[in-house]
Subunit: 417 residues, 2 copies
């Protein structure tokens, strides 16, 4: 089975956007042992698009396109395909109703432009898009002896990715009569260490060959070890992945904070829930980023009570009762201030734990003794208050982000004790 | 002049690496008014590569390839091209010497594999690669009436990017007798409207043809209109862009919040600075995201004093003095609570403006009357307090993000008054 991927959009050809869809789709197809022979990108031009469909279908059995399904006149993918196939465009009732319903909730009505998105080439199968309006469209062509399939997907990655993984791929595998190879990917997530500290410890694992491999990826504030395990059956693939996961956990201990979709904030949330504890945050240089990460987790209201963003020193004094003499003698960016903030927010919010962050996010405000990137983090609990400091690197936003994630990890390790 | 970009490498087709070269080259060519009509990616396979060169050269006057120039047997780009052109491969002495010299510095010697990288199709021009061993190769083909050019570049972006910008592009422009065209890209940013509300108003602009074009892009919480203006001189290109920008500003008035690198948070910051005003935030469902956006801006400490994340109702009552009877009768997600939060945070922080957000981020907690996504935003100023409500869509994080951005925009509009 030969597949090709066709990305549609003039913004790709002028270099305005990076084409991540081709890579995403290629990786997913590779996991299911479908070989991709070519990627093509063309603009939103009906004639060139028709030619691209024609050429791709001459070479391949499956063509997956992304983009050009939007509501405006620029978006010509469906029309170009229908015209190439010599098929009529027909209104797909369920799509029309699904979109109308979504709009109604927002107090908006169907209009002519959005109605365009409900037309599909006759005889297509249609998959609703939960993150947007344009549905995915699967159409068959070719001869009885040599079936060809065309799948049209919307362009925005946040719509395409779940739509493909959850709906289009299972349907495709069914239509193509492909047995899903059992394939387990497991990401083991490590916090508090950087890539060059992790890599030497897993040198042998990184050299393994399929069906069992391990990859290493540096992410903001963490390192991901990605296990890929293939087998003819699910149980075998799971066993392989579990064996490697155990090996990695043994090597890295509590630095492993979770696997797969776990995030530092959800790991912290689980610990707090399990122990029936609550938390409040006091943030200076991170300006709310720590609290915003904590509250991204559904159900965080069970343990996160709230926080104070004490950006101005007056706020540190008035709302968090940090003593004026500490602010003057030690400075707003100091161990003592961090400690006072954490203790105070804990008491003020009647929380079991208080976390505080104070530092210099830059670009200005650094000195020789207190450089840009220096951040103090304090965790105040029922028994004690601990303070940590670290120098973070990068631009202002990088420093804020990594300081917030570092605080989550320190809190996690404190909760583990 | 029509150009195409050909990316070579099996690792692209299996989704192991993201193809950033096509985007980089497209953007550079667009800046020089060279239109790119197609991107193609193929694997390291001599036959498919020959076909790809053949097809691209039938359509385009210039084909730029990246990848497949490495020293190993896998790397077949140069051979495939020579075979397609019917040219001999000849040893390029200066390349051999340059590579031998580089190796010597590292205490290594020339070997058979690396020597492969010194062979080029007869009659090519060769550009040395300062960051690696494989040189760039420029070859001419076609007829006297219709010259065609092929440029081969190494695959690794850190080699390709400087090699193209510093050496290959100037040579190309010289060979193609292209005067370096002036090119201005300007993004006009619109908040508070969605793509389908913006598009109908700029229908005529979206249909314009080069040298002056407008594209429309939906971004989280905003719509971007991208003007591309080409001319023989910088002044002309700037004039074209300015004319269109003025036209767009006239149509959308205060919905236009800025151009190019401006963000909603930086636009709000500029307004606050200009008017010498300060601000504090009270957030419930956004959990600190509004404050975190505001403090991403360098120098935000000039106007952002801080905030309270009043996640738990007790915090709304204790720290923000929201009356218990309002919380009980109207609910935490109500006009009255939003108003009380904004007024209170304004007073508590001694700020000129207070902004408050309260809503239901989901996934649970919604009711028929107050569905998931319902968010109240209040802006309290020296003269009055205004409340707005809106239903946001998507997953929890999408709702938090768009509610925070919507609050920034409401604050901006209030500051403009």
């Amino acid at each position: 089975l030969k597949a090709e991927i066709l990305s549609i959009g003039t913004e790709i050809l002028v270099g305005s956007i990076l084409n991540t869809n081709s890579r995403f789709l290629s990786a997913k197809l590779a996991e299911n042992a479908i070989d991709v022979y070519r990627h093509t990108s063309v603009g939103d031009n009906p004639e060139r698009l028709k030619t691209a469909f024609k050429e791709a279908l001459e070479r391949a059995d499956l063509v997956i396109s992304s983009g050009g399904l939007g509501p405006t006149e620029d978006d010509v993918t469906v029309r170009a395909l229908a015209s190439f196939l010599g098929r009529k465009l027909v209104l797909h009732r369920p799509t029309y109703e699904a979109i109308a319903k979504k709009l109604k909730v927002r107090g908006r009505r169907m209009n002519r432009l959005i109605t365009r998105q409900c037309f599909v080439p006759q005889g297509s199968r249609v998959l609703q898009n939960d993150r947007g309006t344009a549905p995915a469209i699967l159409t068959r062509t070719g001869t009885q002896g040599q079936r060809k399939w065309i799948l049209l997907l919307p362009g925005p990655p946040r719509e395409l990715e779940p739509l493909f993984t959850q709906k289009a791929l299972p349907l495709l595998l069914h239509c193509l009569k492909i047995k899903r190879q059992a394939f387990v990917i497991r990401s083991v997530r490590i916090a508090g260490l950087v890539e060059v500290e992790v890599a030497p410890k897993v040198k042998a694992l990184l050299k393994m060959k399929p069906p069992l491999t391990v990859g290493i990826y540096a992410k903001p504030g963490e390192v991901e070890l990605k296990i890929m395990s293939k087998a003819s059956g699910k149980a075998g693939a799971l066993r392989g992945a579990a064996r490697l996961e155990a090996l990695i956990r043994k090597k890295f201990g509590s630095a492993v904070y979770g696997v797969d979709g776990e995030t530092l904030q959800s790991a912290v949330g689980k610990l707090l829930k399990k122990r029936g504890r609550t938390i409040a945050a006091a943030e200076s240089c991170t300006g709310g980023r720590l609290s915003s990460l904590l509250t991204e987790v559904p159900g965080s209201s069970d343990y996160f009570l709230g926080g104070v963003i004490a950006y101005h020193n007056r706020v540190k004094r008035d709302l968090l009762s940090v003593r004026q003499d500490i602010l003057e003698k030690r400075g707003a960016v100091s161990e003592e201030t961090a400690k006072a903030m954490a203790k105070s927010v804990r008491v003020k919010f009647k929380a079991d734990f208080g976390v505080a962050i104070t530092g210099i996010a830059g670009p200005s405000g650094g000195t020789q003794r207190k450089p840009v990137g220096l951040v103090y983090t304090a965790v105040a609990g029922p028994k004690r208050t601990r303070v940590f400091h670290k120098i973070h690197f990068g631009a202002r936003r990088d420093i804020q982000e990594s300081a917030a994630r570092n605080a989550l990890n320190l809190l996690r390790l404190e909760l583990l004790k």
